[in-house]
């Protein structure tokens, strides 16, 4: 018999009328990184919540080192040495890093907090594992990557031996992901056991020892990572073959659709400009990808193009028409579609029904209104048509609340809305963020189809795979400037990385002339 540190045996967790986990068994060995793989909503988070004591399973048992244990709440889990980094961080924004780490286990003397020792312990831990943090910085002031390090330190501070990471890389930049994976490897080498929830296959291949796959609440299997391939894993996860390669013909660019000239956009967070004197063109029938590390001005550039932010100088032309100062509605009517970076903040009204969200850009058009009254029958028909064509899955069809839909289907809804709307230019900002492989494949197909039907596509991406596979042309942005234009067929991830990190740059003037 092998030595398992945690065994979850035949776990069944039902929500009223719904089986979220159906007889799932998961065994975690000491010192391994065990990946838990599944599509959005396959039951991974539910299973981990059971382990962490947030849900009680209807059936099944949990054993630690062979002993049956009962975990009624997160405190029990903590006592057993189980720690968790949640997908959405559980931090108090207005507290310092140190205060957050000791929260709940404050060392005290007669009721007064003793921070000195705690500080020393935190600093020791952060040095030991290379988790750079400033204990006195406030959470609201630090980056997402650092917030995650705080979450990890919280687990270490509590001397947890079993660490659960719930989709930890979803919010990180490629560099930060690399660092995190190394840190996780370090923990495992030290004898800590790690459960790594993810739907990113590359990360599993890179770091995990074994992998358990769930699909629609059911247990599919557990495999040794070294004996498997990405293709095999994705087939287990989705239940069908997935193509990682984006198949597309060579592009045949036509007229210039979007033209950006010497555009400068001020930053909201610092005094310098976020976008500096940027010039480029996008033609009909091509996908141009803006690549770069997060926070190099992509958001500001897109916002200036789509009208969410104002630029301070330079101009934006859509089909030759100056739209630099145009309101959002006019840009939309002039043929701009926009798949926004943050689908919950901008893309959807979560408390509206799916059908209401599907007409968000068109509700005022004659098809959907009559003298100011919404034509509900037409809205419903239109929504059903889009749901059918774009395969948007939801509990109750058009009347489903957007909030209750899975992330992938929310994104499909936005894509359906933006692609079906009459447009010449499609601005897609990180359209595959947080999606599983099946949905990513779908989104890429839609982008290519859009291009093939003669639209100009402006893709903004942080994912190297996407940057290399999808577009016809790559523009690299670094610190608000376009530092290189690359041909995806001729470049390599390494070369791209050099441009993205600012180590290499072409003469800007040259690019501007070419563009």
């Amino acid at each position: 018999m092998e030595n398992y540190v945690i065994e979850m045996l035949n776990i069944t967790k039902e929500f009223p009328g719904i089986i979220a986990n159906d007889n799932i068994t998961l065994r975690l060995k000491k010192g391994e990184i065990h990946a838990l793989l599944g599509e959005n909503g396959a039951g991974k988070s539910t299973l981990m919540s059971v382990l962490f004591g947030m849900y009680q399973p209807e059936k099944g048992e949990i054993r630690k080192n062979g002993q049956l244990v009962r975990i009624d709440n997160p405190n029990d889990a903590n006592d057993l040495g189980i720690g968790m980094v949640h997908q959405h961080f559980q931090l108090v924004e207005i507290f310092t890093i140190l205060e957050n780490i000791i929260l709940g286990v404050e060392p005290n003397k007669y009721g007064f907090i003793e921070k000195k020792e705690a500080r020393k312990k935190v600093i020791d831990l952060s040095e030991k594992y290379g988790l750079r943090v400033d204990p006195d910085a406030y959470i609201e002031d630090i980056t997402v990557g650092m917030q995650q390090r705080v979450e990890i330190l919280k687990m270490l501070y509590r001397e947890n031996e079993i660490l659960i990471f719930d989709e930890p890389t979803a919010v990180l930049t490629p560099q930060e992901i690399k660092e995190l994976l190394q840190i996780m490897r370090g923990f495992a080498n030290e004898g800590k056991s790690i459960l790594f929830i993810t739907h990113k296959l590359n990360e599993i291949m890179e770091v995990a020892d074994r992998c358990t796959v769930l699909r629609k609440g059911k247990y599919i299997g557990t495999v040794d990572v070294k004996d498997t391939t990405k293709e095999e894993l994705s087939k287990m996860m989705v239940g069908r073959d997935i193509s990682f390669h984006v198949t597309k013909e060579d592009s045949s660019p036509k007229d210039v659709i979007l033209s950006v000239k010497n555009l400068t956009v001020p930053s909201k967070t610092h005094k310098n400009n976020a976008v500096k004197n940027v010039t480029f063109n996008i033609r009909a029938g091509e996908i141009v990808c803006l690549a770069g590390i997060d926070g190099n001005g992509q958001t500001e550039l897109v916002n200036a193009i789509t009208g969410l932010d104002k630029s301070s100088s330079g101009s934006v032309y859509l089909k030759g028409e100056d739209i630099t100062r145009a309101p959002i509605r006019s840009r939309s009517m002039a043929g701009m579609s926009h798949i926004p970076e943050d689908r919950h903040k901008h893309g959807l009204v979560l408390d509206y029904r799916l059908e209401e969200n599907l007409v968000l850009q068109r509700y005022w058009q004659v098809e959907f209104q009559n003298k100011g009254f919404i034509r509900f029958k037409e809205v419903r028909e239109y929504a059903e048509n889009l749901i059918d064509r774009f395969d948007i899955r939801s509990g109750q069809g058009p009347i489903t609340m957007a909030r209750s839909m899975s992330g992938g289907n929310q994104q499909k809804a936005i894509i359906a809305r933006e692609i079906d709307k009459e447009h010449e230019l499609l601005v897609a900002v990180q359209p595959t963020r947080g999606l599983d492989v099946g949905a990513i494949e779908y989104v890429h197909k839609q982008l290519v189809e859009s291009r093939d039907s003669g639209k100009a596509v402006f893709l903004v991406s942080l994912e190297l795979d996407e940057v290399i596979n999808v577009p016809d042309r790559i523009l690299v942005i670094y610190e608000g400037e376009i530092v290189g234009e690359l041909d995806p067929k001729k470049t390599s991830p390494e070369e791209l990385g050099l441009y993205m990190s600012g180590a290499k740059r072409d003469m800007i003037k040259e690019i501007n002339d070419a563009g």
């Binding site: 009328g17 089986i19 959005n40 609440g217 509605r329 009204v349 009254f373």
Partner: protein
């Protein structure tokens, strides 16, 4: 697709769709909050004076039925301020300035009633419209501040409550046509400026309540059926998405505050332009430097009605009902303030009740489903379907 449609239809019939519907949840949680509020009030009365507690509770619950005319009369202004608060709230604005708008409406209505000489059939209508205008004026100013200078509407409208109240009291006292100093109140309004009575004896109830209910229904149509309502609610739910979709945020803020102000102003007019139960007299206003309570009660009414115009109609009538009952409780020695306490507790519990209610609905639901699953042949089909929605729900986390 055909198949999917069948599924939606089936879902519409099952219990879940009823308990999950927003209307059911807000109605049952309001009822639960009311129940808890009354229980709490009963205990307070029990504490204050044990032998009379039961009688006091009876007055609070049933007393209003003996004063049905006045229940509707006093429901009118709080219905209007409730609609005003609820309407602005749909847009994400907290119109705490309903009091000021109400007071301005009241003054404009009085002014038109006393100062203008118009034919009988027209005079009261013009006075009502004047009241609406007064409220609009006091509503649009915080709206303009919010839209153009991004000044929080709560701050401006609280300031405008005071400005409006002192201004009105000053102007009323300064006018010998409106004010009779020895009685420290306004004179009786000319007959032509009074809204026609509904003729229920011993009450002030007038056509105002009919108008108010019609306005509530009208607002419901605006909110649910028109593109203006669509934009308004979208902005309230998620102003970033509204901006992204190219909606005119500033115009909508100003328009919403204009309408909300108008509604409160109408409340003031309906209350003021009323004949009194005693022939030959009318309602009067006493300028005693107090901010109108009807504005704040409107906030409670809107909260209890979940900001839904139709819900607000019922919650205004209910609150007016127990307020009338509460005044009767003084017959057995309780101060009428007891009713403010009960209302406060109801509002306090309505937030909790929403949570308790969902839990309760879930328990009932799972029981029913356990039963249904035992006998249903299409169980597999349903489970499959539900599981999808479970996946969907989790994905959203």
């Amino acid at each position: 697709m055909q198949d999917k449609n069948g599924l939606y239809k089936k879902r519409n019939l099952d219990f879940k769709s009823i308990t999950k519907s927003a209307g059911f949840t807000s109605l049952s949680s309001a009822l639960m909050a009311i129940f808890l509020g009354l229980v709490f009030g009963f205990f307070v009365m029990l504490f204050a004076s044990p032998p009379n507690a039961l009688a006091g509770l009876q007055y609070i619950i049933f007393g209003g039925f003996n004063r049905i005319g006045n229940v509707f009369y006093f429901a009118t202004p709080i219905l209007m301020t409730g609609l005003s608060v609820g309407f602005a709230f749909k847009m994400g604005l907290f119109n705490i300035g309903a009091s000021g708008q109400y007071t301005m409406g009241l003054f404009f209505a009085l002014f038109a009633g006393f100062m203008w000489d118009l034919p009988p059939g027209l005079h009261w209508i013009v006075s009502i419209l004047a009241g609406m205008l007064g409220g609009m004026l006091w509503g649009i100013i915080p709206g303009l501040f919010k839209a153009f200078l991004n000044v929080n509407e709560v701050i401006t409208s609280i300031m405008f409550n005071y400005i409006g109240m002192y201004l009105v009291d000053m102007m009323v006292q300064g006018s010998s046509i409106m004010y009779t100093a020895d009685k420290t109140r306004t004179k009786y309004l000319p007959q032509s400026a009074q809204i026609p009575s509904l003729g229920i004896p011993n009450s002030n109830v007038n056509l105002g309540i009919i108008f108010a209910i019609l306005i509530g229904i009208f607002l419901y149509i605006i909110l649910e059926k028109t593109i203006f309502g669509y934009e308004l609610k979208a902005t309230g739910y998620n102003k970033h998405a509204a901006e992204y979709a190219g909606m005119k945020g500033k115009t909508n803020i100003i328009l919403t505050m204009l309408i909300a102000g108008g509604l409160s102003g109408l409340g003031g007019a309906f209350f003021m332009l009323s004949p009194s139960g005693i022939a030959g007299s009318s309602m009067t206003y006493e300028p005693i430097n107090i901010i109108a309570a009807n504005g704040f009660t409107g906030i409670a009414v809107a909260l209890l009605g979940n900001s839904h115009p139709i819900g607000t109609i019922f919650s205004a009538i209910f609150i007016s009902h127990i307020q009338r009952g509460g005044t009767l409780a003084s017959l057995v020695g309780y101060k009428p303030e007891i009713i403010d306490l009960v209302i406060a507790v109801i509002i306090y519990f309505s937030a909790f009740a929403m949570i308790m209610n969902t839990t309760l609905a879930r328990i009932i639901e799972s029981r029913l489903e356990a039963k249904a699953n035992g006998s249903d042949d299409t169980v597999d089909n349903m489970v499959e379907d539900k599981k999808d929605s479970a996946d969907d729900m989790k994905g959203a986390e």
